[in-house]
């Protein structure tokens, strides 16, 4: 016991004046914080993850939770976390695993960008009284159209358009696989996107048969492990997405622990029951950009060129050039996942240190594609840390066509961002395959909550656009005139191609 124990992360206590001993906390905590001894509830605070399940279920508000109840000697460099990580690694000799997105205190660029509104010289538009168009088409678009006159003298379109995805609102739900999240979570998301006229990603976990009724609103993913991929799967999706990388862990693959591979997950992923599902770091048939172009073409051939194919990459330093390469393939959209993107499990050192913020990545990609005159060749989908409708509006003004949300949609289902997804014990029934926990989500109610969230953001986006004098989403896209940077340095303003406030 050289190292001994580290101080408690969280301290849970029950106010016995208020507690009515209903035992809901005991029943709800899947981490084993509470147990009953005689007529007493005993608390083991060390097991707490601050998931708030007990607090949200307590009818008397009798539970109190305190973060870091024991102080370390304060030090600006050797933070409690730095010290604890070292202690942990000295004990185990292992890579530290973490869930959810980047947890380091980097400045949030979104919060240093402000939006515009009309005053006097142009009227703002009231979306309750005037049309407001958020409809978005994702996919390749021609750079010009050719027409001819037919025998009757009518103008006819000669140019053939590639198939596009039609979104009623530029908010989609990102790829979270069945396995990483529960079936009831996926069903909730599927019901929500179907109702709202938008799309969700299946993640690299195949498509469970109960999602088939919603398949026209799903985008199926093909990633390096190829889990769940066959022709039936490809044909069911409204679009196909090749996942090269992920913002939470650029450059590495994935690992679904065997504990999460139950019968249904094993069938859907087409892997043996209880086996670890390991996605390699690269696709072993893609070692260069031309290999990617081949895979895009292969998927298109397999589905008779009827479906858009997206390519998802993590936002890394050279993201703009990579996106320009993707634009030159047959791919219809490039998905950029910023360094705040969520995950079920990632090495902490990757989650917190690799990649660049989505704001800079969108602007750089949009700029590069415009510079090369190929912006129409691909749509840009942004993801990774989009928290509200303002982030959404700013993403589009920086050049995105649409966004994927992940964490936000899970918070709408109860997630409190405790970051323990990889343990498979999620008390909210989200990141778990334990049936009693999964049953805590009713897909009807869950779907309602997620649809509400998308609806609310859509209303807010309409209001923001109307205030800025815009009545169609095309006119917000890449419209940096409607953005100003507040307390951003000159270099950052240049990358974003945005003027400072007052200019």
């Amino acid at each position: 016991m050289t190292l001994g124990s580290v101080p408690l992360r969280y301290k849970v206590s029950i106010d016995h004046d208020h507690c009515m001993q209903c035992m809901r906390c005991v029943d709800n905590c899947s981490y084993g914080v509470y147990r009953v001894e005689g007529d007493k509830i005993i608390i083991d605070s060390r097991k707490c993850t601050a998931c708030h399940r007990c607090i949200s279920m307590c009818p008397r508000d009798a539970i109190n939770l305190q973060e870091r109840p024991v102080d370390y000697r304060s030090h600006p460099l050797w933070t409690a976390e730095a010290r604890e990580d070292i202690i942990n690694q000295a004990r185990t000799g292992k890579i530290i695993l973490a869930g959810m997105g980047n947890a380091l205190d980097y400045p949030v660029i979104f919060d240093r960008l402000v939006l515009d509104a009309c005053q006097v010289t142009n009227p703002s538009i009231d979306p309750l009284r005037e049309p407001m168009e958020l409809r978005t088409y994702l996919g390749k678009k021609p750079s010009r159209l050719d027409f001819r006159k037919n025998d009757e003298g009518d103008v006819e379109l000669v140019t053939e358009l590639a198939p596009n995805l039609k979104l009623e609102t530029p908010i989609m739900i990102g790829h979270m696989s069945y396995g990483a999240i529960s079936l009831n979570t996926q069903l909730s998301l599927a019901k929500a996107v179907t109702e709202m006229g938008t799309f969700m990603g299946t993640g690299e976990g195949g498509m469970h048969r109960s999602l088939h009724p919603y398949q026209d609103h799903t985008i199926v993913q093909v990633a390096s492990g190829r889990f769940g991929v066959d022709i039936d799967y490809l044909e069911r999706g409204a679009a196909i997405e090749i996942k090269i990388g992920q913002g939470a862990k650029p450059g590495i693959g994935g690992h679904l622990p065997g504990e999460k591979v139950c019968v249904d997950v094993s069938c859907t992923r087409m892997i043996p029951l209880g086996s670890d599902a390991i996605s390699p770091a690269p696709h072993h048939d893609i070692y260069s950009i031309e290999d990617l172009a081949q895979l895009v073409r292969s998927l298109k051939e397999a589905t008779e060129w009827k479906k858009p194919v997206f390519v998802k990459i993590a936002a890394v330093h050279n993201v703009a050039a990579i996106a320009a390469g993707i634009a030159r393939s047959s791919a219809d959209a490039v998905v950029i996942d910023g360094f705040r993107g969520g995950t079920g499990a990632a090495p902490k050192v990757f989650r917190d240190n690799v990649g660049i913020p989505i704001e800079a990545a969108i602007a750089a990609v949009d700029h590069k594609l415009n510079d090369q005159g190929v912006r129409n060749e691909v749509s840009i989908i942004a993801s990774g840390g989009i928290r509200n409708s303002a982030d959404l509006a700013k993403s589009i003004a920086l050049g995105a066509d649409a966004v994927y949300i992940g964490t936000a949609s899970l918070i709408a289902l109860g997630c409190r961002v405790c970051g323990n997804c990889y343990r498979g014990l999620c008390p909210w029934g989200i990141a778990t395959q334990r049936q009693d926990l999964v049953d805590r989500i009713d897909p009807e109610i869950g779907g309602r909550n997620v649809a509400n969230l998308i609806h609310a953001w859509t209303l807010e986006l309409s209001e923001l656009m109307g205030a800025a004098g815009l009545n169609s989403i095309e006119s917000l896209r890449g419209n940096r005139e409607r953005l100003r940077g507040y307390m951003l340095d000159e270099g950052m303003l240049k990358v974003l191609n945005v003027e400072p406030v007052g200019a």
């Binding site: 358009l161 004098g469 095309e474």
Partner: protein, 361 residues
């Protein structure tokens, strides 16, 4: 130095345009009166005119109108550049007559110019492309020189002042054109800058514009990715470039160009018959970045005609009237009546509906 980057200019303003479809010449006195009538819409800080058919002696030469801050340094650079890429067949100061309310701030100069088209490869319109590149180059790189008109057998006349002063400064009554556009400016920025006055012109395209383009950032990026440089610091110039891209380079008809810039709403498109729906759907997908938002009424002219249109919910006024071969488009009916008391068929076009007047001879 007036010709350097300022803040973005937005414009309120009164506009009027007229075409004689039989190409009969009209001198500038009528439009001067019409524009002066709309002084309520201006502030005496900018006005301008453009006329087509005014240089019949040079029917094949680009008429380049340039503002010089002086005739020493900038002019030498412009002369050298023009001589390198083509031939100047005639050049002179544009005759001007100072008015009590309008002093000369720049020296308006004109060239009649023939570019060497064999110097450009890979273009179906080499002369236009060469002149366009020269205009962009001069305006972005040569301090103290601004090309504000670059078409054939047409010319822009503009300055910072009231419409009647600007008209008398250039004596526009001495020019005869079959198309005239005019603009009375109420600037909210760069009030003293002559370059900020309308009309804006590139090659055969001229634009007068009342309004503010809230989609400017998107439109600007689109025209820049197509090789244009925005040098005038006003949202209006992108309209001229958009017409050049869609009309000249993509070969779209005027009504299709207007459809790209002020498209029908999706609800309307969804309800269209199949053939039409297919066209409108493709137009919106392809030309989303060219779509213009915000309040505007615009009249665009080329040597072949004029087209007027407003934004999709008509946040700026536009009135149309006719008399025989003549078609008038204006912010105000009263202005048209001053020019032509006998006009008929006065009407207000719907939002986004193009009004087109083409020459018939």
């Amino acid at each position: 130095m007036y010709l350097q980057k300022q803040f973005l200019v937005v414009n309120m303003c009164g506009i009027i345009g007229v075409i004689d479809r039989g190409r009969s010449g009209m001198d500038g006195s009528g439009i001067k009166e019409a524009l002066s009538l709309m002084n309520e819409r201006g502030s005496g800080e900018g006005a301008g005119y453009v006329a087509y058919g005014i240089y019949p002696d040079y029917p094949d030469y680009y008429a380049l109108h340039v503002f010089y801050d002086n005739l020493v340094e900038p002019k030498k650079k412009v002369d050298d550049l023009l001589e390198k890429w083509g031939r100047i067949v005639q050049q002179e100061e544009i005759p001007t007559y100072e008015q009590p309310g309008l002093r000369k701030k720049h020296i308006p100069w004109r060239y009649f110019y023939k570019p060497h088209k064999d110097l450009v490869v890979g273009s179906s319109t080499p002369e236009d492309d060469l002149v366009k590149t020269l205009v962009m180059d001069i305006n972005s790189r040569i301090d103290g020189a601004l090309v504000f008109s670059s078409g054939i057998n047409m010319g822009v006349f503009k300055a910072a002042g009231w419409p009647e002063d600007v008209a008398d400064f250039y004596r526009i009554q001495d020019y005869k054109g079959y198309i005239w556009l005019a603009h009375n400016r109420y600037p909210t920025n760069t009030p003293g800058w002559w370059g900020g006055a309308h009309p804006f012109n590139l090659l055969d395209w001229s634009v007068v514009h009342n309004g503010e383009i809230t989609s400017y950032g998107t439109n600007r990026q689109y025209v820049e990715s197509n090789g244009y440089k925005c040098t005038m610091f006003t949202d209006t110039e992108v309209v001229a470039y958009l017409f050049d891209i869609l009309g000249r380079r993509h070969g779209l008809s005027e009504d299709l160009v207007v459809k790209a810039l002020a498209p029908p709403f999706w609800d309307e498109i969804d309800a269209m018959p199949e053939r039409q729906r297919k066209i409108d759907h493709a137009m919106r997908l392809t030309y989303g970045a060219a779509q213009m938002n915000g309040p505007f009424a615009i009249v665009v002219a080329t040597s072949q005609g004029i087209v007027g249109f407003t934004d999709r919910i008509k946040l700026r006024p536009l009135v149309v009237a006719e008399n025989g071969n003549k078609l008038y488009i204006s912010s105000e009916e009263a202005a048209i009546r001053v020019m032509d008391p006998a006009v008929q068929n006065i009407r207000m076009p719907r939002a986004g509906e193009p009004v087109i007047g083409r020459v018939i001879v």
